[in-house]
């Protein structure tokens, strides 16, 4: 499996290059911020008619990760739909595709700020999920420990001899992990933004997604 192995909260994880997180011991695959139906929502509100292929693209990648890891549990860590109407408006082909992915495994929708209620699709709807020692929730809470969340769409960049490479990233410190957004139509928030710097401890690693996921220290000023 092409992933980055690491420990968090005494637990062994694999960060996949796609932005998904795999927990082998639980056979659990977690993805965050799918934002399915984003283009539909924008058009509905009188905005531009964006290429309506992002749900298809996101599900294609999710299906590939599921085929790769064959998980017993899939956790969608909130903002799975761009809003609840977008979940309702999901085309039939994409609904049945989701149903096929759900077959034979536990599927958990964690609620997010974009999708705060249950959706008419298979799976369990939860505010948060506790699987000792970890807590999965959409938005990071202050003073939480062993917490895995999404919401902020973190990105991190590294300076490489005059060029800057910026990619969606997992942010990991001793207390929490913030996952990158998995959905195709999602942007990123720079890891150096005040809100992320306030959340994360000085000794934080960013695991950059991409062909080969790779870890970098986030706040350079801090050393041993």
């Amino acid at each position: 499996m092409n992933g980055y192995q690491f420990s968090f909260a005494s637990t062994h994880f694999t960060a996949l290059g796609s932005g998904a997180l795999y927990w082998a011991a639980q056979s659990l695959l977690c993805v965050s911020d799918l934002h399915l139906g984003k283009s539909e929502r924008i058009a509905r509100r009188g905005g531009a008619t964006l290429p309506p292929y992002e749900t298809r693209d996101t599900l294609t990648r999710l299906a590939a990760d599921i085929a790769l890891t064959e998980p017993d549990i899939v956790v969608c860590l909130g903002d799975s739909f761009d809003d609840l109407n977008a979940a309702l408006a999901l085309p039939e082909a994409e609904r049945s595709w989701l149903a096929r992915l759900q077959a034979g495994r536990r599927w958990i929708w964690i609620e997010g700020n974009h999708d705060p209620g249950p959706v008419e699709l298979g799976g369990t709807h939860l505010r948060e999920l506790n699987l000792a020692p970890l807590t999965f929730r959409h938005i990071a809470q202050k003073n939480a420990r062993a917490e895995i969340s999404g919401h902020y769409h973190p990105k991190a960049s590294v300076q490489l001899g005059g060029r800057r490479i910026s990619r969606p990233a997992f942010l990991v410190d001793s207390d929490r992990m913030i996952m990158p957004a998995y959905g195709t139509y999602t942007g990123g928030l720079c890891s150096t933004s005040p809100v992320l710097e306030a959340l994360m401890l000085p000794a934080t690693c960013a695991i950059l997604t991409g062909a080969t996921p790779i870890a970098i220290p986030l706040f350079r000023k801090v050393s041993s």
Partner: protein, 817 residues
């Protein structure tokens, strides 16, 4: 011949003026449906455009708007208002004049729509906005004439295309509308006439006396220009000398960053405390206005400026124009010199200051071209369809429309005269549904066809969003810069978001001629404080980078064939001789390629002379090909003459890389993934309305809500490769940033005659390339390799590799093999 009424005759007499022949000719042809005047500045060109209007309105009795004046610059509209107000006041004419630009306050805009002035002065963008209101017919009722100033400048850009579409709309509202175009000297007046007239109306071209030839030369300095860069700091003492010897000097630069640096250096050396100002488009409006006012009062001895002062603004008594940096294009040089000098019948005086050694050669070539009167220009293709898509949305914002009528109207604009109905319909479908192969938006179409056949907005609120996104000017995302103070310090101007992101607190940069220190970012505003440092980090304003024209490039290559160069200064001639000694000079009809090691990388220079954009594309195509061949290219940088590629492995046989057939065959697939296409897509998709730069709720929260246009591009390419937007992007890229035509021209020109020199070190001609800005990285295998190395180094250096994520049991910071 139509005689001037006594009132006007007397007024001319009190000024000691007599009517110019071309003014009379314009007056005599006032009833022509379209008329193009080509005249030098200072020849009373604007008055020629307005004289028939003033005569008409002097008789009184006209209700509402009579004449619409459109100029490419806001400053020009303000200037014309001032100039027109004088005769109107002095002759006591019953004429109201008002302007409207992006800077006009809301209250005055409302008044203008309810009670339009007789003479209305505006810009293409403001006109497009006005046309988008349902009450446009009321505002433009009784409109008789439209005067388009500096039409040669507008005709070169999408701003002009948008303006001509808006005029087509006005012509429907006011069928008797007469069009007048005012232009500087151009190489092909007939093309502009076709562009501005309602198709197929005829358009007569009037040529005014061009005046005496300009007195233009290269500034000679005791110090040699540097090898690279655009600062021309070496010329500061000589330029100061010139300022002292003249009343008012305009110092033109090709980019804003260069203007800032030059102004800074000029100021440091200005021991006589000569009053010198700076003016460019990134400065805050109040700062610009202050400089403009001082200029008009004659308080300034010199102004350091960019293209924002390029056009025919009346700057009073300018007696010298200095061009810093090679002019890139002979026509623009001639226009720039001609326009700044407002004394009719006196030769314009101008000096060229090459910024670096190569530009010395280019300046000499340009001087020869000016003397021969050889203007350059590339014909512009048909009207771009991204602008058409926006126009369709504008039409919908104004009210329900009939597709047949809109098609007729659009094809009455010269640039769109050849637009086919299917091409129009594709744009309409795009505006209505997005035009996707997957019909996803049946419920949420932007435009709906009603039972009566007319098209209208589905959601009336969309009109506001459309209006917020009108325009074709693609400025990069910029952030305002302010002095840090308790609440809202003095605004200084704008810098690019990318540049702002690279700043860390304490960094210094130049803006408006002063050095400031970056303090922090607050609510999308860059806060700075004054700093007394001598050496700033430089603001990387985009500025416009023009490509050197084909004609000028050919002249330079021709110069390289000479056995010696008595016309060049010694330092430059010696440089060329040295190049000839260690390698050779690029010859016409051949392609010189040099390969040598430097900085631990394999370097290759291709002297293609295809202009900046063409050379950029060549860099993209060649590095892609090298990537496929496993040569690990890391990046490239292009100038107008050459492309430098560096990588991990050397090129041993370049010939297979230059097979035109292979380049062409691969162009589409190669183009698809490259950065230039993505940049072009971003511009076109924004104009066409697919990407909304401004939304009612934009920029309130963090930026994670927006996502990169690259994602849209990649998604379209993957799932809908035949989509209209991709078609438009290809069209635009090929004639714009990609400039593949010039690569084809180059490859045909060299016809396989490639001279590959493998050398032990950097050559004299190649050396300046290493100092060029704008290096383009290649995102390939080499990047993954370097990234892995760098990440390992960082983890090690930071100590995190040892501690790993606490409180884990065992560190696992290595990817599984």
């Amino acid at each position: 011949m139509r005689a001037l009424p006594p009132k006007f005759n007397n007024w001319f007499a009190t000024k000691g003026w007599s009517i110019h022949p071309h003014q009379q000719a314009m007056l005599d042809r006032a009833d022509a449906p379209a008329l193009l005047l080509i005249a030098p500045t200072g020849g009373g060109k604007t008055l020629s455009g307005f004289l028939p209007t003033l005569l008409d309105l002097a008789e009184g009795g006209h209700e509402g708007m009579h004449t619409l004046y459109i100029s490419p610059l806001k400053a020009l509209a303000a200037d014309i208002k001032r100039n027109l107000t004088t005769p109107v006041k002095e002759m006591h004419l019953p004429i109201t004049i008002d302007e409207r630009t992006g800077d006009t306050p809301q209250s005055r805009r409302k008044r203008q729509r309810a009670d339009p002035p007789n003479i209305f002065l505006t810009t293409p963008e403001s006109l497009a906005l006005l046309v988008s209101y349902p009450d446009a017919a009321h505002m433009f009722k009784n409109l008789k004439r439209v005067v388009i100033d500096e039409i040669h400048a507008l005709a070169e850009s999408k701003r002009g295309d948008q303006m001509m579409l808006a005029l087509a709309r006005l012509q429907t509202l006011c069928p008797a509308l007469k069009r007048v175009g005012l232009s500087a000297t151009v190489e092909d007046p007939a093309a502009i006439a076709h562009y501005m007239a309602r198709h197929p109306d005829p358009c007569e071209v009037l040529l005014a006396d061009p005046g005496p030839a300009p007195d233009i030369s290269m500034l000679t300095t005791t110090e040699a220009p540097p090898w690279s860069g655009g600062g021309a700091a070496y010329a500061i003492p000589a330029v100061l000398d010139q300022i002292r010897q003249h009343k008012t000097t305009l110092i033109f630069h090709n980019t804003r960053a260069q203007a800032e640096i030059f102004f800074h250096n000029l100021w440091l050396a200005n021991d006589d405390h000569l009053p010198i100002g700076i003016h460019h488009g990134s400065l805050d409006r109040t700062q610009r206005e202050r400089v403009e006012a001082a200029m008009v009062r004659g308080d300034l001895r010199a102004i350091v400026c960019t293209g924002s002062l390029d056009l025919g603004i009346d700057w009073g008594d300018v007696d010298l124009v200095i061009q810093i940096g090679a002019p890139k294009n002979v026509k623009r040089l001639v226009q720039r010199i001609g326009r700044a000098n407002h004394r009719y019948n006196a030769p314009s005086k101008a000096l060229l200051v090459p910024a670096n050694r190569f530009e010395v050669v280019e300046c000499v070539a340009a001087l020869e071209a000016v003397l021969e009167g050889a203007l350059d220009g590339e014909p512009r293709g048909p009207g771009p369809r991204d602008v058409l898509c926006q126009h369709i949305l504008i039409a919908a914002a104004a009210g329900p429309f009939d597709a047949d009528a809109l098609y007729r109207e659009v094809t009455s604009a010269g640039a769109y005269a050849a637009l086919s109905r299917p091409d129009f319909d594709a744009c309409l479908d795009f505006a209505a549904t997005g035009g996707y192969a997957l019909r996803a938006y049946d419920r949420w179409q932007r435009l709906l066809q009603r039972p009566d056949g007319l098209w209208q907005l589905r959601d009336p609120r969309a009109a506001q969003r459309i209006r917020m996104n009108i325009g074709t000017i693609q400025d990069t995302d910029t952030l305002k810069v302010r002095m840090r103070r308790n609440r809202g310090g003095k605004p200084l101007g704008e810098i690019e978001e990318g540049f702002a992101a690279s700043l860390t607190p304490g960094d210094t940069f130049l803006i408006g001629g002063q050095i400031v220190k970056y303090e922090g970012l607050r609510e999308m505003t860059v806060e700075v404080s004054r700093d007394s440092a001598k050496k700033p980090k430089i603001a990387t304003f985009m500025g416009t980078k023009f490509a050197t024209s084909t004609q000028l490039s050919a002249r330079v290559q021709q110069m390289f064939t000479a056995p010696s160069w008595p016309e060049l200064p010694d330092h430059t001639a010696q440089w060329l001789h040295l190049q000839r000694e260690v390698s050779e000079l690029p010859q016409p009809g051949r392609l010189l390629i040099e390969s040598f090691p430097h900085d631990g990388r394999a370097q290759t220079v291709i002297y293609g002379f295809a202009g900046r954009n063409g050379m950029q594309t060549l860099g993209l195509l060649l590095t892609k090909r090298m990537e496929e061949l496993g040569l690990h290219p890391l990046g490239f940088v292009s100038t107008d003459y050459a492309t430098l590629i560096w990588g991990l492995d050397p090129i041993t046989d370049p010939a297979p890389l230059f097979d035109l057939g292979a380049l062409q065959d691969g162009l589409d697939t190669w183009l698809a993934g490259n950065a230039v296409m993505k940049r072009t897509f971003r511009a076109s998709a924004t104009i066409a309305g697919l990407i909304e730069r401004n939304t009612p709720s934009a920029r309130k929260s963090g930026r994670q809500a927006t996502f990169s246009s690259d994602i849209l591009y990649d998604t379209l390419l993957r799932y809908d490769p035949d989509h209209l937007m991709l078609e438009i992007t290809r069209e635009e890229a090929l004639r714009g940033l990609v400039d593949f035509g010039r690569i084809e021209e180059m490859i045909t020109r060299i016809d396989g005659r490639i001279d590959h020199r493998v050398l032990p070190r950097v050559t004299p001609l190649a050396a300046p390339l290493f100092l060029e800005m704008g290096r383009v990285p290649v995102k390939g295998q080499a990047e993954e390799r370097l990234l892995a190395e760098e990440a390992a180094r960082l983890m090690e250096a930071s100590g995190l590799a040892q501690i790993t994520p606490p409180p884990s049991d065992k560190p696992h910071w290595r990817a599984k093999p």
